[in-house]
Subunit: 349 residues, 2 copies
DNA sequence: ACGATCTGCACAATCGATGGTGCAAGCGCA
DNA sequence: TGCGCTTGCACCATCGATTGTGCAGATCGT
């Protein structure tokens, strides 16, 4: 491979091969059969292209074809097992399709979310996956204006196909598990389950709260308003809230339903300061799974959302456009304490 | 905003504004001052562009300018706290610069790594960050052929600037900590420290092994070959190896230096099967930090590599090209058991 | 032997934005 | 009035690949 100051183009290859640029393009893009280029020529061109270290300029191709070969995905944060697993699956499926994934995190900020969508549109991504949308309607508007297909994951949107996990059922299972496992306390104030984390207006959180409430109600223990603390996702807030709660109750409650890994991180931040033994009378559950969290000092019941399947279904929905708006639900799975789940990437991780 | 079947271009805006495309381009790209376009015209054009929901076609701009506004980054896996934190930082810094991050995971496969570099080159990324390179020389060759600036992070490469953490020092600190904390066992075979995980030929791992070895040697306990089990990064292998080790020793060793979070996941997968109390005579350390791992059932000493600073330094190196090849080392930090570190994104996570 | 068909390729327009250059109108000034 | 300078913009080539179309020569059929 000779050294060039600039990258080789089809024109350079054409000159070297004694062919025309269009022939080179056809030869290298695979369109040569339908363009009746002889296999001999194709092979010559391929060889020369190889020698020159040629690779297609995707900007030029994309410009011409009005598509880019990029797929966009928006997630709230990278730094979280649930979403980073999604990224991993998203990328794997993208590669299978010869697409290049572009993953951006919105920090759950609606403005940032919109800016990202705009940016992705500017780059002519072929379609967009939006996980944990904070303003799905705005996203749909932007995408529609740009004639861009998109799918919502994790949190549904009104204007596009969505894949979500069955939050209601998952929450019921987790709540029931906590209920069954709880060690009863003498103090009635503490002898209750609490729900912490998430945003009450988020679809996912609201469904989980319903599940939480329905199970408790069915058990004859309808939760009071103080038992549901939807303080958002940031760790710090959850830490403050759980600290305040322990203060109020004079200790940990009988059970805690933590509504996300990020909230759980905050909760842990408080737990650090508790004396050992504090957890003997308390049972903890977390909606979302993390292998390390599964093996904490105290038992944690976790709900694992099948992010791999969520993404798989999202690709299905976006690739085979259905009439109307489809919402696909995927069942989550209860992971008992101290159980390690080996994901689809267990071999590589 | 009117609905169009296709996205508006500068030509559409030009027609509506009664101006020429080049004027529109200059007005919207900010080049209007040097092109002597009147502010009145600029404002008219801006208004119309806004109404039409115009946004620049980055493929066209990129084609013309021979750059894309994309920055590429390669990481081994998304699904890992160390690397997903890097992603988060990488993205944040990219946004500050008005660049769009494209993050791809190589699964630590050199072929995949090369393919990704090729792809990123095809998309004319402005530069590339490579974390945990498995074949840095090949990457440098590809990038040089394409005249593309790149920087290595975490694992250094011979042909480009690198930012790594001080693995030798970190490993010494962690080893010394384990040594100090270890509860001695009656059985001399078990009363030793073991190193598990990583690839011995990886620069980072080899430096850590040196640190491990030097501390033990200085303490008069030079490690035997069996004490260093560089079985790679995949969880499954680490699980098998630690199981075999426990089998051999008839229990856990006095101390275990786990060389990555992924290996630690595998180790945990084995620990699940051990009876409680197994850890009373064993002290565990992990090179890399995870907030949940910090609060496991048994105490874990962790080394936190400052991925945020690594990325910050990498941006510095790539933006101010130094003469010669620079290698920048960043100090890692010991995180004692049951300590929660709130990162630079603690507010958002 | 001659039109019809097929083979194998070249030519040129096109995608959308950018930037060098040219040019008319306006203005100042002698 | 006339010259030169400035202002404000339009025109056009260009980036690299794709794709509709045209066309010469070979092949075939009768």
């Amino acid at each position: 491979m000779t050294t060039h100051s600039r990258k080789a183009t089809i024109f350079d290859i054409a000159k070297l091969a004694g062919a025309s640029p269009s022939t080179v393009s056809a030869a290298l893009s695979g369109a040569w059969k339908s363009r009746r280029i002889s296999e001999t020529t194709v092979e010559l061109i391929r060889r020369i292209a190889d020698e020159q270290g040629y690779s297609t300029n995707m900007q030029a191709r994309g410009l011409r074809q009005a598509r880019s070969g990029l797929v966009g995905m928006i997630i709230p944060v990278h730094d979280n097992r649930y979403f980073s697993s999604m990224s991993q699956s998203f990328e794997t499926f993208a590669r299978d399709r010869g697409l290049v994934p572009v993953i951006a995190s919105s920090m759950r900020d609606p403005d940032e979310e919109r800016r990202i969508v705009q940016t992705l549109i500017s780059y002519a991504v072929d379609y967009i996956f939006v996980a944990g949308a904070t303003d799905p309607a705005a996203i749909t508007d932007l995408c529609n204006a740009a004639n861009l297909r998109h799918v919502f994951v994790d949190l549904p949107g009104p204007g596009a196909p969505s894949v979500i996990s069955d939050n209601y059922h998952g929450a019921k299972v987790l709540t029931q598990t906590l209920l069954d496992a709880q060690a009863h306390s003498a103090d009635p104030a503490r002898d209750r389950l609490f729900f912490i984390g998430g945003v009450a207006t988020d679809y996912a959180t609201s469904r989980r709260i319903e599940g939480f409430r329905d199970v408790l109600t069915a058990a004859g223990l309808p939760p009071g308003a103080d038992q549901i603390i939807a303080c958002g996702y940031p760790p710090r807030r959850a830490m403050q809230e759980v600290a305040a709660l322990c203060d109020r109750l004079g200790g940990l409650p009988a059970g805690l339903f933590v509504n996300s890994l990020t909230a759980f991180e905050g909760v842990l931040g408080h737990f650090v300061h508790l004396p050992p033994g504090s957890f003997d009378t308390s049972v903890i559950g977390c909606y979302d799974y993390d292998p390390f969290a599964a093996y904490l000092q105290f038992p944690v019941h976790m709900i694992r959302q099948d992010s791999h399947r969520l993404i798989a279904e999202a690709y299905r929905l976006i690739e085979t456009p259905h009439p109307g708006i489809t919402v696909k639900e995927v069942e989550p799975e209860l992971i008992p304490p101290r159980t390690i789940y080996a994901g689809p990437f267990g071999e590589h991780g």
